[in-house]
Amino acid sequence: MPAVSKGDGMRGLAVFISDIRNCKSKEAEVKRINKELANIRSKFKGDKALDGYSKKKYVCKLLFIFLLGHDIDFGHMEAVNLLSSNKYTEKQIGYLFISVLVNSNSDLIRLINNAIRNDLASRNPTFMNLALHCIANVGSREMAEAFVSEIPRILVAGDTMDSVKQSAALCLLRLNRTCPDLVPMGEWTARVVHLLNDQHLGVVTAATSLIATLAQKSPDDFKTSVSLAVARLSRIVTSAAIDLQDYTYYFVAAPWLSVKLLRLLQCYPPPEDAALRSRLTECLETILSKAQEPPKSKKVQHSNAKNAVLFEAITLIIHHDNEPNLLVRACNQLGQFLQHRETNLRYLALESMCTLASSEFSHEAVKTHIETVINALKTERDVSVRQRAVDLLYAMCDRSNAKQIVAEMLSYLETADYSIREEIVLKVAILAEKYAVDYTWYVDTILNLIRIAGDYVSEEVWYRVIQIVINRDDVQGYAAKTVFEALQAPACHENLVKVGGYILGEFGNLIAGDPRSSPLVQFSLLHSKFHLCSVPTRALLLSAYIKFINLFPEVKGTIQDVLRSDSQLRNADVELQQRAVEYLRLSCIASTDILATVLEEMPPFPEKESSILAKLKKKKGSSKLPDLNDARRNINGSTNHTEDTETAEKVSTHSFTDKLNVNSTPSTGASLLVDVFSDVSNTPAPNDVSEEHFLRFVCKNNGVIFENQLLQIGLKSEYRQNLGRMYVFYGNKTSTQFLSFSSSVSSNDLLQTQLNIHTKTVDPVIDGGAQVQQILNIECLSDFSDAPVLHIQFRYGGALQNIAVKLPVMLNKFFQPTEMTSQDFFQRWKQLGAPQQEVQKIFKAQHQMDSDVAKAKLLGFGVALLDGVDPNPANFVGAGIIHSKTTQVGCLIRLEPNTQAQMYRLTLRTSKDSVSQRLCELLSEQF
């Protein structure tokens, strides 16, 4: 046992800890703990009232058991008794227990809050500090509600002790993190800013942390802090180290405070006042110059503290991005660190240079270090440092050095750590695309990627290469030739087979003139890989084969034989079987002209942001989200973009068939249902409106909205600002014609003033198994909460059918996502503080609580998700604007999952109460 005699040793506790340490096995430990738990329980329940000392001892034991990793579900009451005690020693242990084992029982919280309130009012600084520490440690909403108005008062009161001020400042900071909406701004803010002038550097340090956080939320309230912070910083950097006494750390003057002040200044643009600005520039120059001075101590603490300030200063310089001179100096300094013997400094220099590379002033200066960085990639022994080097190469890449950087990354990929391969693959793919001058280089690069790291090449990457090849006819011949050659390798990656199959299917004709790559050779080559591939790849190859039949009539027989074989026609996989059957049939009955039309070359893909870039952003969790339209489409649409489009193109007669399964045979009950339906009167009664699938469309735009034995209705919709277009697909599931088919959309009187819907008429006949499409044009005039109804009428086998479906045109469809900084977000959040603007709902989770799913739903809902705004990373914060013809309504969303309770709390703030209300109704049904 250590010979510590400080404070009061609790022998019983020490004995217990020794016992535990002497346990030879996990079982013995558990046994000893259970014995102790039983003992404590009986003591707590016993008739004899326990004295303070015993209570304290047992509570400490419970704490120790908890810290060993066991669950503790009692003792809270005793701890609350302790913290209400007048004896410091008991109070302290009581508070510790409550801080570590936070409990959300509301009765308990009320008791704790009472004790805290008494201690805060006690005017005893030690008690006050304990109470403040407890609030800061627990930081729950209940505590915030109880004390958030009291703490600013303590903080700025003239007679508050320094140490209490420090605790109060950070306590308030913590509460602001948990419940930013609760912390009121008021006249106290000005007085908090003046704490930057305080005599006591500890008070200044704590206050700076608080101000830096609050300033992000409401910069205007703390504007005056800039000049005070610059003045304070200037005094620190020019002081002789000794001046600051105990705040000097290994010959560095107040490093913590300096870092915080520099951080606070990053909440603001460069000062407008010229004198202030030059004073700040002087400070930054002094900090940069000090880095060049010989060290005052050999201790690593000295250099760490000094460089901590230096790096923070460089971050501020990059943030201001307005002083080319400082930026270049910063870059040179970091350049020196790139070759420093301290791994930590090399790591940080690489990281910091990444941001410097994005400034126009320093981009060129960063590029001069390319050789050092490439060398780091090859020689660093620590993977996290190599990862930084990859990041920096990516950041410094431009047209001038792209070939070199891509080549280096490719060669590094061969030996790269598995953990970072996928990311490198994405980066190479992006750089190759972005800086490709000639696309043959691009194609080579991607094929190399697949060769070197095929397993890490995600779908996005190979979809993209196909999109590019299809969109650029100058590279198609080269691509065909190159994939053909690459496929010659005895073992090639499945991703290569996919790319190869697709490209040869489209452009194999461009190389068919060469006898070495004649159609038959191409086909045999592809087919030799067929049996080694997974189902999706085989499906893709089958599509390539049918394309071959169109491109090369001479191999038609060979391919038909393959399609006809039992392994295809009777394949256990439905998709493969269906493709084989359909393709074989198509090749037999269609004339050359029809074949040529159906199997025409793919049209160019619409140019949009690379999905790879989106993926990289997602992977890096960066604050910038991918283009939302893109993301939205990915969520609800096909996961298999190119392939779906391909199928749709090829079998254009059933463009939507595969998705809607129109081809599936109607079940035998159909005729029965027909009879039931035929009784329905001509005008559909409102209560017959189907809204079964309505809510499923809140967060997505495509899918099946209605289905019965006869008819399937699918929707595809797209929205832009206040306009929308909906494609309605009516699929006849029977083999009989639908006659007198008509469909119309109706809205109630109110909705008619809010929403304009224009319907195009449809053909009155739908053949058996066929599908027709109807287009609806939608305009949102003002916010609305009802939904229009789609009425369908047709004759099936003589009986009149009436169907009414509630159309999923909801208010949130007219969202445009808005990106904003956390500063802007909180500012707007505050502006929308009126009670009727906020709607909150707490509800039980209906589905499993998965953060990715929730994220996808929110994106589908239409808002931009803002990362790093909410202090709790488990929460979601989003923003968007609802567009209608008359107005635009800004909208902020916060969703807080509580996985323990399986509940969500959803808060919406918009400038219009009806909008808040409706959006809340829609969204709260989704989780």
Binding site: V4, R11, A206
Partner: protein, 161 residues
């Protein structure tokens, strides 16, 4: 802001945990397990920083103990490294050449010292003198309180009752 601090031994035993963000016990255990494993797997000369989820991990080993902090993206790694060092200095000064056993047997003291030094994930008082003064004052209060209590039986003292 620091999100949490963990102290664990070379054998992977958790000695102290301090969380500045609300997380469920299950999540805390999961994070601890994952990080202890990651950090222990790293070699001595490696960099003290690593990216982990969307946080930055800063760690340093002192004798048999690892000190490991998680900070947010915009936080300063080097100053966090020195936060760890200052905490070690505080423990060292208080216990007099601190060792792992001191922290095991006096875990509550280690918490009290940490609370005086860091609060809500930010440095509250960086002066070594001021922190120790606060702790010693508290200890004095304890001594007073102890004297006022009645002496208890030997049996009770060794935890047999």
């Amino acid at each position: 802001m620091m999100q949490f601090m963990l102290l664990f031994s070379r054998q992977g035993k958790l000695r102290l945990q301090k969380w500045y963000v609300p997380l469920s016990d299950k999540e805390k255990k999961k994070i601890t397990r994952e990080l202890v494993q990651t950090v222990l797997a790293r070699k001595p000369k490696m960099c003290s920083f690593l990216e982990w989820r969307d946080l930055k991990i800063v760690y340093k080993r002192y004798a048999s103990l690892y000190f490991c902090c998680a900070i947010e993206d915009q936080d300063n790694e080097l100053i966090t490294l020195e936060i760890i060092h200052r905490y070690v200095e505080l423990l060292d000064k208080y216990f007099g050449s601190v060792c792992e056993l001191d922290i095991i047997f006096n875990f509550e003291k280690a918490y009290f010292i940490l609370d005086e030094f860091l609060l809500g994930g930010e440095a509250q008082e960086t002066s070594k003198k001021n922190v120790l003064k606060a702790i010693e004052q508290a200890d004095l209060l304890q001594e007073d309180a102890k004297e006022a209590e009645t002496p208890r039986s030997v049996l009770e003292e060794i935890g047999l009752t």
